[in-house]
């Protein structure tokens, strides 16, 4: 296949960009419709309490108000639980509008529909919600304690998930054991576009729904289920979507309610979150407490890992199982860890529900391991690079069955490490660090490494290709890109393999009325799954074309070849050839094929990221000086798009390491509800990233691709965290939880501890 795919590997410009650049692209908030009504949600301002009453009469009577609904007026099924296929646990259900009890600040309690947005906003303030406050529990460890306030009394515990992996005795035979207690903090995804949805009744009894979503087919199924309609009577469209990072992959109460309102009222309804609402209602990411012990021999060879990972679920066991499960699967990372004893627990607390956010469990597992490698190196007085080298899986060990049950496809982890060290100039930086430590300078230098492997591209995806008699090529994908440039990637694959100009190819996606089936874009899956589905469909189209050409050229199909210009001819007779469009015309219609590409065990991208920081030990301010990222995502279709994904992921990893944390007060009131209080980095905080790559194709798909959407966030956070700790090591600091904000760093300098514990506030 490789020789025919001439366009693969080129930095083709994105076809998606012009409408986005000129402001003509339409996001949910830009959709208008005559008679559009506006929905505004009334949200709980109490973190935990019994819902006594919701008084709506005053609001309903206000001018411009069309209707007000509570859970009892708008009965909808609970949100689908993840993972699918497991029997739903009714007592843990997440309602669309709260019933009987509220469990976090921001939970939707009622919805007001107005003929204008301001009428709905004013009326929402007039809805009186009477809540009898209950004791709150915010910390996942507190939630698991005896006599903790229960969010679901019928369930009898705040522990909603528990899974054991491996067997006891993982540390047996160790000559040295290092221990850590880490908190991977809760962060907010903050896509620039908040959530939003619009819906209206369409012809033929169909309900048309528009949502800022990563997975329109999943949303269609949920809307059909909630409204008790056949799926064919629901159309879901993801218009331009302003970023998702996993957080828009799930189904939200507000989306189902908006659809229900349009159905009930028979009119167009739109709901758009404000940023303040987004910070409460959109899932948060991370939020994992880790109690870890790593056993090794004196030469640095790892013997086994024993760990407990407590993943916060927030108020509902809704999408939190994604990071819960992924951190479990990736618990031993790129290392040869023969024995694993892992307890994974999911705990509910009175906070915004947790969900997948770029990395979704992978950054948690990676940070845990990379911190442990550093602690082990410190304990054995070895360079941590050496400890990594001794334990990284070798290329000959693939496919590798990890103790978690994961099956790694391919890799050369040491090569990525070596390349990153070379790009950095590791020895020089260490020499500079030694000089700095000799001087009396208050600004310390730190180097941090993270070597990682992650999982991408599980499941299946739909793809179709159609060559029209007019010469245009239509590609259909079941994925739902929202910034990744997938349409361009698929165009390259189709145009390259068909040998037609890029300008003839158009990609249809994100509309369940135009694409027969699909899954969506999350988990670094779309390039490889949609890409291979399209590639397979193209192969079928080429085969059909060859057969058609054989008939037209009166030759045996085996003698027909595709020429460099894309046309078909009998081998050795290039002067008489037929183009694809011509073949379609002669066939009397388009030449098309479709394919569902499945890859159940996924692929395993990997890399090494290295950070260099300077730490002002007097103020605690950390400056990131350099960030080297060597990533391996198998075969690269478009290097510009791949680099863009790495840049974005790295930026979010840095952001977690240095800047971001969702905070609550002791009553469960959120303190980070806008972009001033939740300050994610601007261009002024980022250095220029130094990228490198290795290319180890995956044997699990014909194009040899792996995902690249999340690697950046997986490696960079741990690298920066390690760099900060490294800078502070002269002060006896062995560990520091993220984010390394000035105060936390300053306190570490002054209260440096040698026992591997964060000097303060380990989990809140």
């Amino acid at each position: 296949m490789a020789s025919s795919v001439t366009l693969l590997g080129h930095a083709v410009e994105r076809s998606e960009d012009p409408p986005l650049l000129t402001g003509s692209a339409r996001f949910v908030a830009d959709l208008d419709r005559p008679g559009m009504l506006h929905a505004v949600f009334v949200r709980s301002q109490v973190a935990h309490g019994l819902l006594r009453s919701v008084e709506v009469a005053e609001a309903a009577a206000m001018p411009g108000v069309v209707a007000v609904f509570t859970a009892s007026d708008l009965p909808l099924a609970d949100l689908p639980e993840w993972p699918r296929g497991e029997p739903p646990r009714a007592e843990l259900g997440r309602p669309c509008l709260a019933r009987e009890r509220v469990r976090f600040v921001g939970e939707a309690v009622a919805v007001v529909v107005g003929s204008t947005l301001s009428a709905a906003v004013d009326a929402a303030e007039a809805v009186t919600v009477d809540i009898e406050p209950l004791p709150t529990v915010l910390d996942p460890l507190d939630a698991l304690a005896e006599r903790a306030p229960l969010l679901f009394p019928e369930h009898g515990s705040n522990e909603v998930l528990r899974q054991l992996t491996g067997a006891a005795g993982a540390l047996d035979g160790s000559e040295v054991v290092v221990r850590g207690h880490f908190y991977n903090q809760r962060v907010a995804p903050c896509p620039l576009e908040p959530n939003g949805a619009a819906a209206w009744p369409a012809a033929g009894g169909r309900l048309d729904c528009f949502a800022s979503t990563q997975a329109p087919f999943r949303l269609r199924a949920a809307i059909a289920l909630a409204l008790g309609r056949p799926e064919e009577t629901v159309r879901v469209v993801a218009p331009a979507v302003g970023g998702g990072f996993g957080a828009k992959g799930g189904v939200y109460p507000e989306q189902l309610v908006t659809a229900a309102l349009a159905e009930r009222l028979g009119q167009p309804v739109r709901f758009v979150e404000t940023r303040s609402e987004n910070m409460l209602a959109m899932c948060h990411g991370r939020g994992q407490v880790q109690e870890v012990a790593l056993g090794a021999r004196r030469d640095g060879t790892i013997v086994g890992l024993e760990a407990t990972m407590v993943t916060e679920m927030g108020a509902y066991c809704w999408r939190g199982p994604v990071p819960f499960s992924t951190s479990r699967i990736m618990a031993t990372g790129p290392y040869r860890i023969p024995k694993l004893s892992l307890t994974s627990i999911g705990a509910v607390t009175n906070t915004t529900p947790i969900g997948p956010y770029r990395g979704a469990g992978r950054p948690e597992a990676t940070a845990m391991l990379e911190r442990m490698i550093e602690l082990l190196a410190a304990e054995l007085d070895l360079d941590s690079v050496e400890v990594r080298r001794r334990n990284l899986l070798a290329p000959s060990e693939f496919p590798y069955a990890a103790p978690s049950g994961a099956s790694y496809d391919s890799g050369d982890y040491s090569a990525a490490l070596a390349k990153a060290l070379a790009l950095l100039g590791y020895e020089q930086v260490r020499a500079e660090q030694a000089d700095r430590r000799q001087s009396s300078c208050a600004t310390e230098l730190g180097v941090g490494i993270a070597t990682f492997v992650e999982i991408s591209g599980s499941g299946s995806e739909y793809g179709a290709v159609r060559v029209e008699p007019g010469g245009s090529v239509v590609v259909l994908t079941g994925s739902s890109p929202h910034g990744q440039g997938l349409a361009t990637t698929l165009t390259q694959i189709a145009a390259g393999m068909l040998k037609v100009p890029i300008s003839t190819v158009s990609v249809v996606h994100s509309d369940t009325a135009l694409v027969p089936r699909g899954v969506g874009t999350f988990g670094s899956r779309s390039g490889q799954l949609a890409g291979n589905a399209v590639a397979h469909a193209v192969e079928e189209v080429l085969e059909k074309a060859r057969e058609l050409a054989a008939v037209e050229l009166e030759a045996d199909p085996d003698d027909v070849v595709q020429l460099e210009d894309g046309s078909f001819a009998v081998a050795g007779v290039p002067s008489i050839s037929l183009g694809l469009a011509e073949l379609a015309r002669r066939a009397g219609g388009p030449i098309g094929a479709e394919w569902d590409f499945a890859q159940e065990s996924g692929t395993y991208p990997f890399g090494t990221h290295i950070a260099v920081v300077e730490v002002d030990t007097e103020t605690g301010k950390v400056e990131l000086r350099r960030l080297v990222a060597v990533d391996d995502c198998g075969r690269v279709v478009n290097p510009k798009i791949v680099a863009g994904q790495v840049h974005g992921g790295v930026a979010q990893g840095i952001a977690q390491a240095l800047f971001e944390a969702v905070r609550y007060d002791e009553s469960g009131n959120p303190l980070t509800t806008n972009l001033a209080d939740y300050a994610f980095p601007s261009a002024a905080e980022m250095p220029a990233f130094e990228l490198g790559e290795t290319e180890t194709p995956s044997p699990r798909n014909p194009l040899g691709m792996k995902g690249i959407g999340e690697s950046g966030a997986v490696g960079a956070a741990a690298a920066v965290q390690n760099a900060v700790v490294d800078a502070l090591s002269p002060y006896g600091v062995l560990h520091l939880d993220m984010p390394a904000d000035p105060e936390r760093v300053w306190r570490a300098v002054h209260e440096g501890r040698r026992d591997g514990q964060d000097p303060f506030s380990s989990s809140s």
Partner: protein, 290 residues
């Protein structure tokens, strides 16, 4: 909703509707309105009042009119006359915010984290207030009375701010979590006035109002070499200066930081501001700060 086109019109409007909110750059008021925290009965915009724009020199003073924007504070020659104010302005928000936000707005909002306020405190600025009845001048320390509260009377507007334009070393330092667009965890403004031979320190975000640090100022004044225009202090004296500045702080715990850290960091900033201070020569040229 009124948009007066002259100072007289503005004063008449304010006198006629003393409950109206004044809006200049909108960087504070519009946030409140957008977030539904405030629904003012009426609003008077100062955007088109020419008398409130720009700045000028008057004797040994600089008069900063109330609608002077942060961006304007950063431009020469004003940034050379008042470098600490320019440095503070540079740390305010983004270019968009600096283009809109004004010194009058910063004063009227009187947030403990208002970035220009410690500079105005260190400069011992005077706030000039005006109403239809007449005007009065109030020292900045009396103008801001507590958190987000000022001594502005009904019917009064902030007309301008008067600051000395004497030969002085000026520094501004701020600690926050981001480099750009960050709300101060603490800030320090230093003015070493060559004519009065006094060092003044203004501390921001470490009290309900911008604070001065009299004991630290006294020490700094004694440690400054006024003839050479540079600080002369031993490590021990610098540490003492930081300690005295910290002692002057009255910080609180909030979600951005703890009082303990703020107290420490404000001392570090004071010490560093002092170490960096260099008097300009008679022509106004400054030696390079290390």
């Amino acid at each position: 909703m009124l948009v007066p086109a002259s100072l007289d019109e503005l004063l008449a409007s304010v006198a006629a509707d003393t409950r109206a909110d004044l809006i200049a750059g909108g960087t504070d008021l519009m946030v409140e309105v957008n977030f539904g925290r405030r629904s003012p009965e009426s609003v008077i915009s100062v955007a088109l009042v020419p008398e409130l724009k720009s700045w000028y020199r008057s004797g040994d003073e600089v008069i900063l009119n109330a609608a002077l924007t942060y961006s304007e504070m950063m431009r020469p020659p004003l940034c050379e006359l008042l470098p600490a104010l320019a440095q503070a302005a540079r740390t305010v928000g983004s270019p968009q915010i600096r283009n809109a936000g004004t010194i009058g707005g910063n004063l009227a909002t009187a947030s403990p984290a208002g970035d220009t306020l410690p500079v105005l405190a260190a400069l011992e600025a005077t706030v000039v207030l005006e109403s239809a009845e007449g005007g009065r001048a109030v020292p900045v320390g009396e103008f801001i009375v507590s958190v987000k509260r000022t001594s502005l009377a009904p019917g009064e507007i902030i007309r301008s701010v008067r600051v000395p334009a004497r030969r002085a070393a000026q520094e501004f330092l701020k600690v926050g979590t981001r480099n750009a667009m960050v709300i101060a965890v603490c800030s320090v403004a230093l003015v070493a006035d060559a004519e009065r031979r006094e060092v003044h320190l203004g501390l921001g975000s470490v009290g309900p109002v911008p604070l001065r640090a009299p004991r630290a100022e006294e020490l700094a004044t004694s440690l400054f070499d006024w003839d050479e225009g540079v600080p002369r202090a031993s490590e021990k004296e610098l540490a003492r200066l930081a300690e005295l500045a910290s002692e002057a702080a009255r910080p609180i715990d909030d979600h951005r930081s703890t009082a303990r850290y703020r107290r420490h960091a404000v001392g570090v900033c004071a010490r560093r501001a002092f170490e960096r201070a260099r008097l300009p020569d008679a022509t106004g040229r400054r030696s390079v700060t290390p």
